[in-house]
């Protein structure tokens, strides 16, 4: 942090000012002039919270994508299909057993198994051929999309939120002061907050696993130099399978989360593939903290954009990507 400020004082200043402005917008009571200019504070706060929680979902999808890319140099364009598959599995399990928690576990295991099969049967045979692997993932995504359309049809599905998570919760954030002097607090759906907290926990667990454990050390070494790692006697194929399973499983969990937040239908796979692409391009390929930062930025941009400039919301997301590519092509938090 201190080094960053030393090296890029101008950027650090811009970031600090932006954070300060955001904090003021979130915590202060808006003066009437501001409300007249850009609308109610409640709308803004809802958009911010929606953006951050959507960022949590994007992080779940993109972290698996970036992990797989970082270690195996495999741009898995079937990642969106894994997401949708996990969502359908979660839907099936939760309607069948009625258990929301169980649907996460089953979705993780099922999609991780698909990942293991993919790695063992397909990608292992074409190691080091980046382009061919990517082409194969494109073919797989078409096949998966059609198979899922076959089984589940074109309907919209929504995973049932468990009863103990339904309903709003009052947050200690002021939206306005009533004329009687009584403060008005923000109401926000509990389930989104819980899911966001869960994705933060998963993110921290991943960071700890990568930075504090032996297997994490091996994975990090593999990201840096795969060949030397293999030469030191590590069973790299096993690590590959494990990482692919973890990445795919995370996509599966994200599918259940997305199915609860939003809905599942054909086409969602491309949407989340695009989201994870943009997130990892912005955050930096192969970097977990980068995926987290990129996910929050993109989630916020998408939600604030759709509130304040509805017909150009996607352009904001896209402009962020262009800006990052122009100023820092390797992504915000990538080392190379």
């Amino acid at each position: 942090m201190a080094r960053f400020i030393e090296r890029h004082p101008a950027w650090a200043l811009i970031v600090i000012i932006a954070v300060a402005v955001l904090a003021w917008l979130v915590f202060a009571i808006w003066p009437p002039g501001l409300e007249a200019a850009i609308g109610r504070k409640r709308v803004f706060l809802n958009a911010v919270l929606n953006g951050i929680t959507l960022g949590g979902l994007y992080f779940l999808v993109a972290s698996g994508f970036t992990l797989i890319f970082g270690l195996m140099r495999n741009v898995n364009l079937a990642h969106g299909s894994l997401y949708l598959f996990g969502g359908y599995i979660g839907y099936a399990v939760s309607t069948w057993t009625g258990s929301w928690i169980l649907s996460f576990i089953v979705a993780f295991i099922a999609v991780a198994l698909v990942g293991v099969i993919l790695q063992l049967a397909v990608f292992r045979r074409m190691e080091g051929q980046d382009l061919r692997q990517t082409m194969v993932t494109i073919g797989l995504s078409i096949v998966f999309a059609d198979l899922m359309l076959w089984v589940f049809g074109g309907d919209f599905y929504q995973v049932q939120t468990p009863s103990w998570l339904i309903g709003p919760v009052q947050l200690p954030l002021l939206t306005a002061i009533k004329s009687s002097g009584e403060p008005v607090y923000l109401q926000y759906p509990l389930v989104r907050l819980v899911i966001f907290a869960a994705s933060v926990v998963i993110g921290i667990a991943m960071w700890l696993a990568l930075n504090r454990t032996r297997i994490g050390m091996i994975v990090r070494a593999g990201v840096d130099d795969r060949d030397i790692l293999a030469a030191t006697g590590v069973r790299i194929q096993l690590v590959f399978v494990l990482v692919f399973a973890l990445g795919a499983g995370l996509a599966g969990i994200a599918g259940v989360v997305g199915g609860t937040f939003q809905s599942l239908s054909p086409g969602e796979d491309t949407r989340f593939l695009l989201a994870s692409l943009v997130v990892v391009i912005v955050g930096g390929m192969g970097s977990i903290p980068g995926a987290a930062l990129g996910a929050v930025i993109i989630g916020l941009a998408e939600q604030l954009g759709s509130v304040y400039i509805p017909t150009y919301a996607i352009v904001v997301t896209f402009l962020i990507m262009v800006l990052v590519l122009a100023l820092r092509p390797q992504g915000l938090l990538a080392r190379r």
Partner: protein
């Protein structure tokens, strides 16, 4: 051909040299199969009826032109760009926006001879800018950035009502009508697409042998060495994107004239990937590949339903068939159908050589 042969009788060395130079530039002129295919394509309206002419052959040529632009980038530049269909779709949208269409509140109503060059120029600019972004990173990143551009454009057309008219798109786009000919009538339109496809094919063929194309192939194989030799790799790449964008834009203009409408569905991510499939299935090593791939794709798309039902299977599984076929090609023949054909011919040639006892040697 006969004209070229007649020059042989004259003892003029310079004419002979010109002829050799011409043949070196265009080796196709010596290939009888190429002449046969060209002849069949030219007399096609005598053979095929309106449905085949437009739905199969004109569609094939249009998709082939768009895939050709991808083949140029991927085959000679080593850059797999998934946004070529997006560039084409952008050109189509621009034709609809600047020209005349059923949505009078959006279309500016320019005549076609003004709207089309405008659309071509804007789409080329769009493709060049996208390329300039994509070349900032290397190799495998290209595919992601171009896919992100394509997907962003698709969602943008869906969201934006002021220019792109949201998900309904722009309908009943006017087609050119001059010299007393309706250029969208079946036979005239077929010849327009054939002409454009031929020009694009020969342009790519020519550029691939011109100094620029050779330098581009050098950049593809070893950018650092080319930079050391004094070439600017990124400038060559961006120029390649510009050239490919122009070809894709031509395809896009033809496509919007063909369907007379354009909507976000025409620029969807699936459609972008279809173009990649067409190019890869046909083969990205030679300009003829995309056209072969497009023919296979269009035939499958048109007849898979009937064939599948006749075989007692679910007719809706057309995309599954396409996906599996694409996977098979990627697995077993990295240079597509052309590669399969060439390998088959080589094996045949080597077997006849063995039996003929070195007759060819």
């Amino acid at each position: 051909m006969s004209l070229l042969q007649s020059t042989q009788f004259r003892p003029d060395p310079s004419a002979n040299a010109t002829r050799r130079a011409l043949l070196r530039t265009w080796p196709e002129f010596q290939n009888p199969v190429a002449w046969l295919v060209a002849l069949i394509l030219v007399i096609m309206p005598l053979i095929a009826n309106g449905f085949f002419l437009i739905e199969i052959f004109a569609t094939t040529l249009i998709l082939g032109v768009i895939a050709l632009s991808l083949m140029f980038l991927a085959g000679y530049g080593g850059m797999v760009s998934l946004m070529q269909l997006t560039v084409a779709g952008f050109a189509g949208y621009m034709v609809a926006v600047f020209g005349m269409s059923g949505n009078a509140n959006i279309s500016l109503g320019w005549p076609w001879w003004l709207a089309t060059p405008m659309a071509l120029a804007l789409a080329t600019l769009f493709g060049t800018l996208g390329g300039a972004l994509a070349v900032r990173t290397e190799g495998i990143y290209t595919i992601m950035i171009t896919l992100a551009i394509g997907a962003a454009f698709y969602y943008f057309t869906n969201q934006n009502w002021a220019i792109f008219n949201g998900h309904t798109g722009i309908n009943t786009v006017a087609t050119p009508h001059f010299w007393g000919v309706d250029w969208r009538s079946d036979i005239a339109f077929y010849y327009v697409t054939l002409g454009v496809a031929a020009i694009c094919y020969f342009a790519v063929q020519y550029v691939s042998r011109a100094p620029f194309g050779l330098a581009l192939q050098g950049v593809r194989d070893n950018p650092r060495r080319m930079a050391a030799l004094g070439f600017n790799p990124n400038a060559h790449r961006i120029a390649a994107y510009a050239f490919a964008a122009f070809i894709a834009a031509l395809g896009g203009v033809l496509q919007v004239w063909n369907y007379r409408q354009i909507s976000p569905g025409s620029v969807s991510v699936g459609a972008c990937i279809d173009v990649l499939i067409i190019a890869v299935v046909g083969g990205i090593t030679r300009p003829i590949g995309p056209f072969i791939g497009a023919l296979i794709f269009v035939l499958l798309r048109t007849f898979a339903l009937d064939v599948l039902i006749k075989l007692g299977l679910d007719g809706n599984r057309f995309r599954l068939l396409i996906g599996l076929g694409f996977l098979a090609i990627v697995f077993w023949s990295s240079d597509g159908v052309i590669g399969l054909w060439e390998r088959w011919r080589r094996r045949n040639a080597s077997s006849t050589q063995r039996s003929g006892g070195g007759r060819h040697g």
